[in-house]
Subunit: 690 residues, 2 copies
Amino acid sequence: MKLRSLLVTLAALCVGTAALADEGMWLYSAPPRAQIKAKYGFELTDAWLDHVRLSSVRFNSGGSASFVSGDGLVITNHHVGADSLQKMGSQEHNYLRDGFYAKTASEEIKCNDLEVNVLQSIEDVTARINAAVSVTLSGAEAALARRKIIAEVEKESRDKTGLRSDVVTLYQGGAYHLYRFKRYTDIRLVFAPEAQIAFFGGDPDNFEFPRYDLDVCFFRVYENNQPVQSTHYLKWSARGAADSELVFVSGHPGRTSRLLTTPELAYLRDNQFPDQLATLKRREVLLSSWSARSQENNRRAREDLFGIQNSRKVRDGGLAALQDPAFFGAKVAAEKALKQKLADSPNGAEALAAFERIAAAQKSIALVANRQRLLEGGGGFNADSFSLARRLLRAGDERPKPNGERLAEFAEARRESFELMLFTDKPIYADYEILSLADSLTYLAANLGADDPLVLAVLAGKSPRARAAELINTTQVRDVAFRKKLYTGGAAVVAAAHDPMIEVARLIDTEARALRKIVEAQTEIKQQAQALIGKARFGLEGANTYPDATFTLRLSYGTVKGYEENGAPVAAMTTLAGLYARSAEQDNKSPFDLPPRWVAKKSALDLNVPFNFVSTNDIIGGNSGSPIVNQKAEFVGIIFDGNIQSLSADFGYDDKQSRALSVHSAGILEALKKVYEVPALVSELTQGHR
Amino acid sequence: MKLRSLLVTLAALCVGTAALADEGMWLYSAPPRAQIKAKYGFELTDAWLDHVRLSSVRFNSGGSASFVSGDGLVITNHHVGADSLQKMGSQEHNYLRDGFYAKTASEEIKCNDLEVNVLQSIEDVTARINAAVSVTLSGAEAALARRKIIAEVEKESRDKTGLRSDVVTLYQGGAYHLYRFKRYTDIRLVFAPEAQIAFFGGDPDNFEFPRYDLDVCFFRVYENNQPVQSTHYLKWSARGAADSELVFVSGHPGRTSRLLTTPELAYLRDNQFPDQLATLKRREVLLSSWSARSQENNRRAREDLFGIQNSRKVRDGGLAALQDPAFFGAKVAAEKALKQKLADSPNGAEALAAFERIAAAQKSIALVANRQRLLEGGGGFNADSFSLARRLLRAGDERPKPNGERLAEFAEARRESFELMLFTDKPIYADYEILSLADSLTYLAANLGADDPLVLAVLAGKSPRARAAELINTTQVRDVAFRKKLYTGGAAVVAAAHDPMIEVARLIDTEARALRKIVEAQTEIKQQAQALIGKARFGLEGANTYPDATFTLRLSYGTVKGYEENGAPVAAMTTLAGLYARSAEQDNKSPFDLPPRWVAKKSALDLNVPFNFVSTNDIIGGNSGSPIVNQKAEFVGIIFDGNIQSLSADFGYDDKQSRALSVHSAGILEALKKVYEVPALVSELTQGHR
C-alpha cells in the first residue's frame, strides 16, 4: 500500500482524474464507486454489484470462476480445473492431457473432492472480535482469545444460516468481516480442451505476452443431484472485449503483501523467498526428470509440476522486485515518510512503537523459520500420506478440545471442508509418494545435518530413500475406510493402529506444534501492531482504500491496453492467426505443438478472431479463472495469467508494463464452434440455458 | 579406501582368488599385475602397458580418448567433444545437434581452445618435494614452500624436455609424481553423430541401463599442420567385447574421495553437496526454461545444461550414498578399526593426532565455505566475462611475482595452457551471459542478504538483472585483442582500462584471495595429516594399493557382466533392436526420438549387433571416452557412463550392482557403415590408416 499511497498522493496533486491508476482489489462492501465514476464516468450500481457477485464462484482448490448459464454452468481456467482433471483421470483416461466433452448430462463426471463457494453476504464484525480480545493480553493469549471468538462467531452464523461462515481478517487485523458462502460439493466436468492448447507454450511462455492459450474449462454445479438453477449468471458477449474498453475483474485474489513493513519485506527477500525458491527448483528438477522416464509418470506428476513451475516464476519475479533497490527503496522511503508523519502527529507514538514490535517479532520468527518450515510446514515430509497421517493424529488430539482452543483447521465451522479433504478418494500413487517423500527426507537430512537427533529418529537407521519406501509401503492412510475408522475412533484408536506414518507424525509433533505456536504468537503480535499502524494510517490518509488480498471476492477495474517492451509496442490483443504463427516459429515442437484437431480445423477458423488480451486490472494468483466483464456485466473474457512484469504485484501495483492476461470470449466461442464442434455447449452459452 | 581395505581383508580370508573384487584405478607406474594374474591368469607386460598408455589421450576439457589409427584419429565420447562442437557451432551450423562428417581432410574443423595430452613418463619426486617442505613449517608456510618446489620441478622438467610437466599429488600427499605429457592443441573434428542418438534418452535415461547411446565422436590430432603419425594406436575389434570377457579401461578418472576421513565425508554430506545441489538445480531450472523459449537459446545453452544435469545426478547419487547409514556406517567402522590398530601400534600416535588435525581443519573450512564458494569459487559471478576479467586482473598482479609464490594457475609450467584458455575465441553470447550473471548475482544477494556491504558494492544501486546487463554490455573482455593488450601490458594497463567487469573482480579480490588462502592453508594441514595417515596405513596394510583419482592416466580391469535389479536380471549387452524398441515405447517423442537417418536405415541394419554394454571396471567422471580394451589391447568399446548404482564410486567401489557403461565397438562400426555410410572412416578404423 506504500506504492498506492504514493500514487494517491500524486493523484491528489493533479488536476482532473486522468492520472488515477487502475489500482486496487476492492471489497464488494466498499467498492471504488467514486474513482470509477471520476475516471470513466461509469456508475457502479448495487444491482450491478449484486449480480456480478452472485455470478462469481470461488474454487476452493485455489481459483476463481463464474456462472455462465442459468443451468449451473461455470467457466474457469483449465489450470484451475486441472487438479480435478488429474484426480478423475486414470491410466486409461488422461483427461488432463486429452481433454473431455460430455455430450449429455449423464456423461458429466463428478469431481473427487472439489468445493466451490458463492458469496452471499458480508458483515462487519470488527467491534465484536476486538471486544473479546483485551488489549492487556500477551501475543499468545490474544491469539487464543481471537481464535476463540472467531470460532464462536463462525459457528453461530453457520448454525443460524446453514451457510459456510468465515471470519476474514482485513487490513492486517484493522477489520474483521464475516463472509457467508453457499457451498457446493457436487461439481461435474462438462468440457475441457487438450492441455496442449490450454497451456500452449508451456512453462517457456508462461507469464509471457503475446500469448495464445485456450486456458478454459467448463463444469456444472449440482445440488440434490440436479443442476443448480443459477438466477445470476453472466451473459456471454460474442463480441468480447475491445481495445481501450473499461473492464472489471470479479474474483478471488489469494494474497498480497502491500502493507508489509520493510523488515518484513527484507525477511521475505533474504530468507523466505530464497528458501522457497530452492525448494521449488529442487522439486521442479525432481519431477521433470521423473516425468520424462515414462508417459504414465508424466501424467501422474504433470499437475504438481505445473504448479511448481508457475510458483517458481512468481517467486522469482517477487524476489526480483524486492531485490530491486528502486522498488525496495520506494518502500523504505514511503515508510520513512509515514513514520515522520506519525512523529509529527499527537497520537503517533503508539503506531511508531508498533513498528518496533513488528521488527522484533519478525526477528523471532526468523530464528525458528527453518525448522518450522521443515517440520510444521511439511517441507521435510512432502507426501499426501504424511499430510493425511498428521491430520488423523491431530484430529484425535484436537477434536475433544473446546472449539475455540483447537488449531484453526479443526474449528467446528471448517469441519465439513476438513472432512472433504480428509476423506478424498483421489488416487494417491505409491511410487510418486516414495519419490516425493524420499526427496524431502533427503532435504531434511541435508538441511539439519544427518546427525541431528530428530533426523536420526525419523530415518530410523535407514537411508532417506529406503525409509520413504518403507513408510509409504506400510502405512494404511491411503485407505479411506482406515481413515474413517481412525477419525471416528479418536486418539485411542489412532494410537492403537500403530501406523508407521502416523507414528512419524507423532514423533515430530511436539516440536512441530511448539514451532507453530511461536510463529503464531509472533504473527499475532505483528497483527496487533499492524492493526495499530493501519488505524493510524487511516487517520492520516483517510478512507477509500482496499485491504491486502485474502482469497475472498474482490472487484478490480481497468482498461484493455497494450504496453511497451524494449522500446517496441506490444498490442493488447492476439488473434488465432498468431497461435499458428508461434507454433510454426518453434517447428511445432512441444510445448508449442498443436493438438491434431487444431491442425485439421485451421481452415475452418476465422483467424482474425481475438484470442488472448491484456488489461490494466489489478490481479494476483487466485484470480485465475475470474470473469472479466464489461459495463453491461457481460462476460467478455477470462483471466488466466499476468505478464512477467506483473510479478511484483504482491508488493505493489504498477500500470506501466504490468498487465493482466485473459482469454477472449470471442476466441473461446470460435474454438467451441469450429474446432470442437460442440453445438449444445455453444447454444447454452449464447442462449443462457440448455 | 576404507571400503577397499574391508574387501581386501575379506579377500585375504578366502582361499583362492575368486572373491577378489575388480577394484581400483591403478597407476601405470604400479599396475595390479599380481591381482590380474591371480584372478584372470593374464600377464600385464611392460610392452602391453606402454602401448596402451601411449594410445591413451587426455582431453583437457574434461575427458578421455584414444588413438584408433596411425594417422592421429582419436575417438572420444560425443559428450566429451560436445564442448568443442558447441563452440565451433553458430546460428547457421548446429554441429552439436545435427552432427558432422568431414569427407576429406580439408573439411575437418579446428577446435577453438582444446588441448589434449599423451602421457610420456612418470617420475617419483616425493623425496625432493618433501625435502623442500620442512616439517616445522605452519600450514600456510608449508603450502607456499610446496607450491614453490612443485613449480620449480615442473619448470625444470619443462625447460629440459619441452613436455608439459605436472607434479601430481597422490595418496593425499603420501607421494608426488612428475607426469610428463606431450601437448597437442591443433585438434580437428572428423565425425560426430546427431545429439539425439549420442544422448538418446537424454536426462531421463542418463545413468540408467539398459541404454542405447551412440556416444562417440572422432577427432584428428594435428601437429605442424599435419596429422600426427601415431605409432601407438588401438586396433579396432570388429567383434568387440564379449560377455564375461576380461577388459581394461585406460583413462583419466577425475577425482575420487575414497581416503577421506569421516569428518570430511560428513562435511560433504551436510554442507558441500547440499550447497552444490541447490546451485545445480537452480541453474538447471534457469537454463531449461530459457532454452525452451527458442531454438537458438536451446543451442546456446544445451552443452552447459547437459553438464549441469549430469553433475546433478552424480551429486544426488553421492549424497544418497553418504546419507545411507549402511554406507556411511561402514566408513565409520573402518576408520574406527584403523584408529584401534594405530592405538595398538608403537608408532600410531602421530597418525592418530593427524585425525584430530583433519577434523579441526575441516571445521575451519566449514566456517568460511559459503563466502569462499560465492567469491573465490565464482558462485556469485557465473559468467565467462567475469572469469576472463578475473584472470586478467590476477595475471597483472601474479606474473611479476617469483614463479613459486604465484597462485597455482599462474605457475610458469601452466602458462601455455592458461593462455590458451585466456585467449579462446569461442563465441560468448551477451544474452546468455546476462542471464547467467543475473541469476548468480540474485543468488549472491539472497544468500548474503541484500544489505550485505559487499552485495551493495557489487550491485552499485541496481537490481541484479540491471547490474548484470550493465556489466555484460559495457565490459570489453569478450574482445580477444583487448585481453591480449591487458595481459601483455600488465597491472598498470589493466587498471588504466577501467573495465567495469574487471573493476568488479577487483572489488571482491581482497576478500576472495583471503578466503582462498584460509582454505588452502587448512587444506595443506589436512594434506600433511593425510600423508601421515597414509604412511601409517601403508605400514599396517602393506603395498599394492592405488591412490584416489587425480585426472591422470589410470588402468582399471573388470569383466563384461550383467547384474540384478529389483530381483530381475539385467543382461550385460543391449542391441540395436533394443534402441528401436525403447523409442517406440516412448512414442518416439523427445528425448526418445530417433534421427531421420536412423529411421530410414533401420532395415539395412543387423539389429542383433550389440550396442551398449556394462562391465565391472572401476571408473568415475573423467573416464568418459576411455577406451575399453581386451587382452590383445584391441579397442572393444568406449566408456560413456556408469549406472545409477555406481554413483557412490566417489567414496567406494562395489561390484554388486555398480557398473561401467560402454558403447560397443561392433555397434559403432555397424552404425558408421549402414547408417552414416562413411566408408573412408570405416576403412581407416579397420585398416588402421587412411
